[in-house]
């Protein structure tokens, strides 16, 4: 509080400007040697003021010095802060540049990989298309259909077998009582009536030596001499 009072008093005295009169030769000149002139130190100007004690002057000097020191410190802090900021900005820019370079390298590598994959697929396609296909697609399809007819059983016989039975007269396709059509029925007109597992042959005289057949024998060919020659 005493320091504040002394500071207030000094400032009031300065504002009033009741220092000693300047010599004529120094009027208008600011010389540091002339006490009380604008160029002289403030402490000398203060000592020329009325009502300012040495203690007050000392306190003022101390406070002034402290303020100067503070100002200096602030300036130093500011310069350090600016320096730091500049360094950080430079570092940040370096990092950004490095990341950009990495990204572009990654993009380039990805593009190279994709191009290599496309080339591989293209080469594979070219090699596969070079494989010969003798007969085209039709030939193996026809073979497949023929084997289907020969090998896949339907209702106990393969289609080729059914065809043979129909041609030989031992089977027919007929309508059932419900109005649908059956896949094939074997007829037993004079010949053997065949089942899927056993066969009972009516005309066994000519085939007694053979084992039981699953397919009925065709009708015997009429030679015209059976009725004439006594058996």
């Amino acid at each position: 509080m005493s320091r504040q009072k002394s500071m207030a008093a000094i400032q009031a005295a300065l504002a009033a400007n009741t220092g000693p009169a300047l010599p004529a030769s120094s009027q208008g000149a600011s010389s540091p040697l002339v006490p009380g002139s604008p160029g002289s130190p403030i402490s000398d100007r203060i000592s020329g003021l009325k009502g300012v004690t040495a203690d007050q002057k000392r306190a003022y000097d101390i406070e002034r010095q402290e303020r100067l020191d503070q100002k200096k410190e602030l300036l130093e802090k500011e310069t350090r802060f600016k320096k730091d900021l500049i360094e950080r900005e430079a570092e940040f820019k370096k990092q950004e540049a490095a990341e950009e370079a990495e990204k572009s390298a990654l993009a380039q590598n990805t593009q190279k990989t994709l191009d290599a994959a496309k080339n591989i697929v293209k080469d594979t396609g070219v090699r596969i298309s070079g494989i010969p296909t003798p007969g085209g697609i039709v030939f193996p399809l026809v073979v497949l259909l023929v084997f289907f007819m020969l090998l896949v059983p339907v209702n106990g016989h393969t289609r080729a077998t059914w065809l043979w039975l129909v041609l030989s007269g031992n089977a027919e396709v007929s309508l059932t009582a419900n109005g649908g059509s059956s896949a094939g029925q074997e007829t037993g007109s004079g010949a053997a009536k065949a089942s899927s597992s056993t066969s009972t042959s009516a005309t066994t005289s000519a085939t007694t030596a053979l084992p039981a057949l699953s397919i009925p024998m065709p009708l015997p060919v009429f030679t015209g001499v059976e009725g004439m020659i006594p058996l």
Binding site: S129, I137, P140, L144, L150, T158, P211, L213
Partner: protein, 63 residues
């Protein structure tokens, strides 16, 4: 009915896919190979019928 539709639909998809493949240069040999493979599998899975066709009884009967 559901089974028939499924069966029919599946076959339709297979046939359409095969037709699309056959139109390409690289798809044609693949379809060719697949059909021959189907022939091979059919013959192998129905070997009994094949051998019974060429048995003594069958040859005697049909010959």
């Amino acid at each position: 009915m559901n089974g028939v539709v499924t069966w029919f639909g599946t076959w339709l998809i297979v046939i359409i896919g095969t037709m699309i493949l056959v139109r390409t240069d690289w798809g044609r040999p693949i379809v060719y190979g697949m059909i021959w493979l189907a022939v091979l599998l059919l013959v192998v899975s129905h070997a009994n019928e094949l051998t019974s066709m060429f048995s003594l009884e069958a040859l005697q009967l049909n010959g």
